[in-house]
Symmetry: C2
Subunit: 301 residues, 2 copies
C-alpha cells in the first residue's frame, strides 16, 4: 500500500534528480530510500524507475505516482498548517443559539468585534430549536445559548451578560403617549404586538398582565422587530421590548416609552455554555465582548 513517504521520496527524486539528492533533503541516507522504494516495488510488483546509466528514469507507473505526489503532498501540508492553527486556538467555530428574539440586534454588536478579533473562528447563529435551546446546547448543536431565562442545570453554566428593563412602546399618537408608567388594567383596550413565541415565555404576560389577571384587547404576533415598531408608530398597537432596543428607534420613529408598573420589569440577558468548556478561549472571548457590549447601547433618549 502506498504511503506518504513513498510520495515524498518520489517528489524529492523529481526535484533533485537523484536518490542521493533526495536522501539529502529528506535527512535520510540513499540506502534508506532505496530500501523503502524497493520494498514497495516488491509488494506491488511494479517498477517505479529504471536505471539509465547512473541516472534514474521513472517508468510510467513512477511518473503516475509522481503526479499523485505533487497533487497529494501539498494537501497534507495544508492539513498540517490547519492543525497548527487549531493548536494555536486561531481556528474554530462557535455555534450561537438565540432564545431571545429582540437580542438579535444586540448579538450583531458582539459578533462584529469577535470576528475581527478571531479571524480564524467562524460564528454560526441558530434561532430555531426542535427541543429547545438547552437541549441544543446539551447535544452540541450549539456552543453558546443566549437567553433571558436561564435554567438551573448541573452541567450548564449561565453568566449574566447585561441587565435591561422591559418597557412598553406606544405611538406618540396613542392616548397613552406621555405616560411615565402604566398599570396592567390600562392595557385592556390595547392591541398587544409580540414575537410569535408561547405566552409562557413572554414577560409582559408572565410578570405583568397575568399576575393582575388582565389581558389586552387583542394579541397579534409578528416576526420582525422593525415591523412591530412600524406598527406601533402607526398606532396599530403597543409592544413590550427591551428599553435599549426601543431607544435605538426612538429618534427615527414617533414612539414613546413607558415603564411597566411602579418599578419596571428588570431582566438580564444570560449566556450559557457547557461547564466543561469553561476554559474554551473562544467562549470566554465571546462572553467578555458580550459583557462590554452593554456599555455601547443607548441608555436614554
Amino acid at each position: 500500500m502506498i504511503e506518504k513517504i513513498h510520495l515524498s521520496i518520489l517528489r524529492e527524486i523529481a526535484r533533485g534528480g537523484s536518490l542521493t539528492a533526495a536522501a539529502g533533503s529528506l535527512n535520510l541516507t540513499q540506502s534508506a530510500l532505496s530500501h523503502t522504494m524497493k520494498k514497495l516495488e516488491r509488494q506491488c510488483n511494479i517498477n517505479l524507475w529504471l536505471k539509465d546509466g547512473r541516472n534514474i528514469r521513472l517508468t510510467e507507473a513512477g511518473s503516475y505516482l509522481l503526479e499523485q505526489a505533487n497533487r497529494l503532498l501539498p494537501q497534507f501540508e495544508r492539513i498540517d498548517d490547519t492543525l497548527r492553527q487549531f493548536a494555536d486556538n486561531e481556528k474554530g467555530s462557535l455555534g450561537v443559539g438565540m432564545e431571545c428574539h429582540p437580542c438579535y440586534q444586540w448579538l450583531l454588536k458582539v459578533v462584529q468585534p469577535f470576528l475581527a478579533q478571531s479571524p480564524g473562528v467562524d460564528i454560526d447563529v441558530k434561532q430555531r430549536f426542535q427541543f429547545g435551546g438547552m437541549a441544543a446546547l446539551f447535544n452540541y448543536d450549539i456552543d453558546l445559548l443566549i437567553t433571558p431565562d436561564p435554567i438551573n442545570k448541573e452541567s450548564i453554566v449561565f453568566e449574566p451578560v447585561f441587565p435591561y428593563e422591559l418597557v412598553l412602546v406606544v405611538s406618540q399618537h396613542s392616548k397613552l403617549n406621555g405616560l411615565s408608567q402604566i398599570t396592567p388594567a390600562q392595557l385592556s383596550d390595547q392591541v398587544l404586538l409580540t414575537y410569535p413565541v408561547e405566552t409562557a415565555r413572554l414577560d409582559i404576560f408572565q410578570q405583568f398582565l397575568l399576575p393582575a389577571q388582565c389581558m389586552p384587547k387583542l394579541h397579534k404576533t409578528l416576526e420582525a422587530t422593525d415591523i412591530i415598531l412600524q406598527m406601533v408608530a402607526a398606532n396599530r398597537g403597543v409592544a413590550a421590548m427591551p428599553k435599549w432596543l426601543a431607544l435605538e428607534y426612538a429618534n427615527s420613529l414617533p414612539i414613546h416609552l413607558i415603564r411597566l408598573g411602579n418599578s419596571g420589569i428588570h431582566k438580564h440577558i444570560y449566556v450559557g455554555y457547557r461547564k466543561q468548556e469553561k476554559l474554551n478561549k473562544h467562549i470566554q472571548t465571546f462572553i467578555t465582548l458580550a459583557k462590554s457590549s452593554g456599555a455601547a447601547l443607548p441608555a436614554e433618549v
Copy 2:
C-alpha cells in the same frame, strides 16, 4: 506530521463509533490506536476527541481531520488500484513513431485491434521528429518506431513486420498504362509525385532512378496519400508506393500498377524498440498484431 494511518484511524472511529471497533477493522489493538493518536495529539498539541462518558466525541480539529480523511483516503485507494493495473500490465501508454508516410493507413489496422485487446493502454502516434525517429526512440519520446529503413544500433532492436513491393502507380489514361514493368529511363518525361521527405529517404530515387542516373521531368511533393492518388488518376503525374496501399485504391480510381525494373523493389516494414524493453508486454502485443496485419491487406487486384 499527519500520516495516512491517522486518517485511517479517524475514519474507522467514525464508522464504528469507538476506538475498539476501529481497532477491530484495522486488525490492530485498541491500545495501538490509542497510542498512535495520543502521540499525534502530543506532537501537534491538539485534542482530536474528548471522552464523553465511554464514547468518543470528536473535537473541531478531530472533525476537520475526519473530513480530510474521507476526502484523501479514497484517493489513496484509487492510487493502489491504478498501481495494481500497472502491475497487471493493464495500464500504460505506447508512443508510436512513424517514419513511413504511407504506413499510416496500415497502422490504423493495427491500432484498432490493439486498443480492443488492451483497454487500459493508450496509443499516441507521432509523425514529426526534431532529430529523427531513432533519436525520439532513444530519448523515450516514443516507444516504437515504424520505418522501412532500420538503422543498426546496439540498443535498438528492429523486427521486420511485413514485406511489401514498391510499385509505380500511373493513370489509366497515361501512355504508360498497361505496362507490366518499367525502366528508369521511361520516367524521364514523367512528373513524379512523392511525400515531402528528403530524396535520400525515397527508394524510388535511391534504388531505381539514381543507380541508372535518370531523373523525372519534374518532382512534386504532396502530404496526403489520397491527394497523390487523385493526381495520379487525373494523369497529372506518377507515384511510387507500396503495392498493398495502391491496391486499396485500385477499385475506386482509374489507376494502373507497374513493377519497378525487372524484379521489382522489395522492402520490409520494421518496428523498432529499445532493447531493454524486449519483455514489455504492450510492445510485444503490438508487434504480434503488426505481423498478422500483413495477411489482412489486399494482395492482388
